[in-house]
Assembly symmetry: C2
């Protein structure tokens, strides 16, 4: 971000220093663009008004930033920030430690930030060695979505809930969660926004799918919540009335089960965690769901910080075992590093259309 | 509530059965009208359109209920419900147990429901014997407000916060909290809605009072939050933007302290508990406060159910010691049981004007 209130995206040459004992040099071969990358990458800039300066192999994309959002970005001004939460590639050099050296030549997934890059130096503990026969493209999304899906189930257990609700549920993550919940025996209600997405999720085994565009949405949702006893929802949209509608339906389901009138509503605790911001409008809570409720933010990184090393190892190993099945991702298109800076391409990957996902494949040298 | 969609308030003669060993017969001498009583008592009825039928000593108030709220009250239809969360009076008869008999003649505070009554049979464990020299009127509000104020501080400690924010803070409860936090050394930010309330709270020792009607409210609030490190707010209003404004200001205060830019906002957990509904409009969350936040409902009864018997005993004893000082309540007017049914009087006590509080003094036989 510049002091003139614009966003500049460019490629930079970075000198790689010599490796410390536990470090690896990874040649990045694939890195997904997750919704969680877009805030840092695009800073809410008006990419529709972007222009490109610089040369064809070193383009610089320049886009204005709306006056209203400048204040909250003040801490970024003048700082060059690198982007890319996760990716995968080949270990082409290692530090001197024995553990690092065993990884030479291996394909690894990495969650270290700065992954939109040709090469990346990372600590070996940030790498997940992929099972033999798994390519970098297959392993590129080994962290954010798989650990988020697993984290939702861990959170459910830890907080004493019996089932889950997920929104924007036709996404890559939503499909992953459908498969995972079937395997783990976790009752799941998937909320989608279009009729064809109901069929899409049912075709991969989803039992309860509710379409928020349907006139019978409220009744469908209450029915599904009664059938599943789901009292914990993860909401990727964040804005508007959806979180409130989910809490209201959970309250109706709980009151149907409890039977008695209570002036303060049911005693069943109903929780929504907002883990995305597909809808940036304000969250509207109608508060017709008693007093036993909570809404909060949920992020993968603090969640991972809250679990034990044993639990983390168990979750990572679960991901490695399922990369070609439960945790397989599909991509709409592949994009080069130079391609990431093209306004038309930015327009596509910044849309966050449900089910669309893009894979960055760095240009070879 | 009738099947015709009206609310009927009346007095009823109830036969008192013989006392079980641990029961007491209390002559109720004073019972406050708390905001938490009004939902059950008035069911959101249109009291401005009320009429009175029946006789002068057995009036029946009849008021229509808005179409839109009928559905959520379905479980009440046709049921006669008694009202009054707390009160105080004299023990005029006891059951056979030794513990019950020691209370004969004592003035006790009671939190048992159904306290808008001349007499009330209660289990001895629901009574707080008042210290000698404390009248029933002085002890009538021994539970709801004092235990809520103490509960806020307990919740703060339990959840790892260092200071508190309270809204509608010129209320009886808000004044109590100012005094209690001074005694306990808890940093407190009081949010009020009028300039004269700032002076009122400062006159009883409040250090940080912010007026939400002031043009400098946001800056004042951030300043107070930085000074107190308060990251837990209790909001009695519930509706509108206030909870969101508090979270945004907490985030600004946290970012000023943390210094570094983080794409996901500060890592400081910011929490708002809504414990009242003075503003029944939807809660509007702008979500410009990162991901480390939570909002939820907070009610005294579940809170009391979550603490140990030792903690409860400690809190009750703290209340008994401070009934004439820290936990003293003041009342706008006294109302008889018949008076409670008069539409003009209902209009007054149902307003929930900050700082106004009414005391029911049952008519003697």
């Amino acid at each position: 971000m510049t002091e003139q209130g614009t966003l500049e995206l460019s490629l930079a040459d970075i000198r790689i220093s010599s490796l410390k004992p536990d470090e690896l040099l990874v040649r990045v071969e694939a890195a997904p663009i997750n919704p969680s990358d877009l805030g840092l990458l695009l800073a809410g800039a008006e990419v529709g008004s972007a222009r490109v300066v610089g040369t064809s192999d070193r383009p610089v994309m320049v886009a204005p930033i709306a006056e209203g959002t400048l204040h909250s970005l003040a801490a970024r001004v003048g700082k060059s920030l690198s982007v890319g939460n996760e990716g995968a590639g080949t270990v082409v050099a290692t530090g001197s430690s024995a553990e690092a050296q065993t990884l030479l030549g291996r394909t690894v997934a990495v969650a270290g930030g700065s992954m939109y890059s040709q090469y990346r130096v990372v600590h070996s503990s940030l790498c997940l060695p992929l099972p033999p026969g798994t390519s970098a493209k297959e392993g590129a999304s080994s962290f954010v979505n798989p650990l988020t899906a697993l984290g939702m189930i861990e959170t459910m257990s830890r907080e004493g809930h019996m089932g889950l609700v997920n929104t924007a549920a036709a996404s890559n993550l939503g499909q992953m969660l459908v498969k995972l919940c079937l395997e783990e025996g976790v009752p799941l209600v998937s909320i989608v926004r279009r009729p064809e997405q109901v069929e899409q999720l049912k075709s991969i085994g989803a039992v309860h799918v509710c379409d928020s565009s349907s006139p019978s949405f409220t009744a469908d949702l209450i029915h599904a919540l009664k059938a599943t006893s789901a009292t914990l929802a993860f909401d990727a949209t964040g804005g508007g009335k959806l979180a409130s509608q989910v809490l209201t339906a959970m309250e109706a389901a709980a009151n149907d089960s409890e039977g008695e009138y209570s002036r303060y509503g049911s005693t069943v605790h109903k929780q929504v965690y907002i883990y995305g911001g597909l809808d940036s409008s304000p969250t509207l809570l109608s508060r017709n769901f008693g007093f036993a409720w909570g809404i909060g933010g949920w992020l993968l990184t603090p969640f991972l910080g809250s679990i034990s090393a044993d639990t983390f190892a168990r979750l990572r190993s679960r991901v490695a075992d399922g990369l070609k099945t439960t945790f397989a991702s599909s991509y709409t298109a592949e994009i080069s590093l130079v391609g990431m800076l093209e306004p038309i391409t930015i327009g596509r990957y910044s849309k966050q259309a449900t089910g669309e996902k893009y894979l960055v494949v760095p240009d070879p040298e």
